[in-house]
Amino acid sequence: MKVTEVLGRTDYRLISELIPNGAKVLDLGCGDGALLEWLKVHKQVEARGVELKRELVQRAIARGVTVYQGNLEESLKDYPDKAFDYVILSQTLQETLQPLMVLQEMLRIGKHAIVAFPNFGHWRVRLSHLFSGRAPKTHLFPFDWYDSPNVHFLTVIDFEDLIRKQGWHVERRYFAAGHWAGEMAPNLFAEIAVYLFRPEP
């Protein structure tokens, strides 16, 4: 069974392909634990999650996933170095207050990091901003500016730039929009970008 058939999310499908059998995985902002449960069942991973929302934590526990209820930015420091093979941050980077610290901590506690984020450079976002003259509202950014959880609006170029500056090594990158996936002008066409990277080349 494909992970999208269970979870219906492109980023989850990509992430599930990147993780090998039996890996130790930490999912930051793991929600109700659906991805971790899928990885446990289909890839026999040792799964851990962090989630802030109480109801989601309860659902994750009820489905047998190990999850810590807490703020992911504050909770990272407690994990020892290289405790995990993969640390996942899916569609949450834009919500963190200190994204650089989060990414650095991910690479401290994990051998590899997987980050998926919505691309603010997508043409639909650009058009929305250009024509409405207001904070963009699209299906990826459906919130009004005043109640959006997103505090950072990064693009594929921005992320590439940061990776280069930090000297991190990209192992795989994946761009997708609906059924489209490819490398062509990703900053314009990708709605979702998924990066697998590690600290050193």
Binding site: R54, A62, Y68, Q69, D78, A83
Partner: protein, 373 residues
């Protein structure tokens, strides 16, 4: 179905203070059936004034103290698990304690009973589990003082427990928690009927014990739950009496709970057990709490409650962070409740759901003893 309390005799138990107790009686109850491979046993740890009667109905028709969590189809599902609960060492509900007869003198121990610790209690439970022929427990679970015993199990017998569920508890008492216990102890010892603990066959120190219980009860509730339950309502009167009799509903409630307690609990047990709680410090002898938990091999489910001010969430988070620091498999959830510390006994909806899910997973992932060795 009516449950019977059973008894077993442990020939000798060496205590942390260095003394050895002979012929220690342990009172316990069991629910459900131990399966053929002996991998479905769960030990339930009672809180301070609890006893072995955790589930089902006893001869007086009273339900067990955690009957809403233990039973067929409940969180600790007795159709699937073999559940054991024993009265703690130092207790007064069947297990050897200060009110038991000292074989050396033929008189009740009273204050001659040796000082006890949480680890002594757990050592006695391990002897019981061995006597029942269970090599490894599926889980050890309990709230409050029960949670301290759970933590002690995790580090004292790491190989013998698949999963630990410390609920609404702490790895060590804070000054505030010790202060409440000391207030209770002083109330008991100030009672003119206390007679240095030698009150058996005489009038028990009922007033002191009752006051101690009243203090305890206040700490178990929350500001909100007391407001909801009593407010400032008067008890059977329209105006104040100005005579120090009961005016408010809450006064009546506390007096009732205090006097009721006197009938079922021994004042000396109160002294010994509260001291055991105050002495408890999982990190004692280690550089840090995390270092003390290094030995643990269990999976953990830690639960705290938002309105619990006696064992606040920060104490649970402290142990959870220590466990995460050693990369242990720890699940943590702070449940929402208005009931204060009592929440783990009364607010069982969400607790049931997560305990059930967690246990089901521990069954699937159970590691028999030989795998760990």
């Amino acid at each position: 179905m009516i449950v019977e309390t059973q008894f077993t005799l442990i020939p000798s138990l060496t205590l942390d203070v260095g003394e050895t107790l002979k012929d220690v009686t342990v009172a316990y109850q069991t629910y459900g059936t131990l399966n053929a491979d002996r991998m479905n046993a769960i030990l339930i740890e009672h809180a301070f004034t609890g006893d072995a009667h955790a589930a089902g109905i006893d001869h007086e028709g009273k339900p067990g103290w955690w009957a809403n969590m233990i039973g067929p189809g409940k969180a600790f599902d007795t159709d699937r698990y073999f559940v054991i609960c024993s009265n703690v060492l130092g207790g007064c509900r069947g297990t050897t304690g200060p009110s038991s007869i000292n074989p050396a003198t033929g008189q009740p121990y009273g204050l001659k009973f040796p000082g006890i610790t949480i680890s002594d209690m757990v050592r006695l439970q391990k002897a019981l589990i061995d006597a029942l022929g269970i090599p490894k427990l599926l889980a050890v679970a309990g709230g409050s003082m029960g949670g301290m015993q759970v933590l002690e199990w995790a580090v004292a017998y790491p190989e013998a427990v698949e999963a630990c569920l410390p609920i609404a508890t702490t790895a060590r008492h804070s000054a505030q928690q010790i202060a409440f216990n000391e207030t209770g102890r002083q109330a008991i010892m100030a009672d003119p009927d206390f007679h240095a603990g030698d009150y058996y066959y005489k009038t028990p120190p009922a007033r002191g014990l009752s006051v101690a219980r009243m203090v305890g009860h206040i700490t178990y509730m929350s500001d909100e739950s007391m407001r909801e339950k009593f407010g400032r309502r008067l008890r059977d009167k329209k105006s104040f009496g100005y005579d120090f009799e009961v005016d408010f509903e809450v006064e009546s409630y506390l007096r009732y709970r205090g006097s009721q307690f006197v009938g079922r609990f021994d004042a000396n047990s109160y002294l010994y057990i509260t001291k055991a709680m105050d002495y408890f410090d999982l990190s004692a002898g280690f550089p840090s709490l995390a270092a003390s938990l290094e030995r643990a091999r269990s999976r953990f489910l830690v639960i705290s409650f938002t309105s619990d001010w006696l064992y606040p969430s920060y104490q649970s988070q402290e142990m959870v962070n220590a466990l995460r620091g050693r990369n242990h498999d720890v699940t943590y959830c702070e449940l929402s409740s208005n009931y204060g510390h009592d929440a783990f006994l009364v607010d069982i909806g969400e607790q049931t759901e997560i305990v059930r899910g967690f246990l089901a997973r521990c069954v699937r992932e159970f590691r028999p003893l030989e795998v760990l060795r």
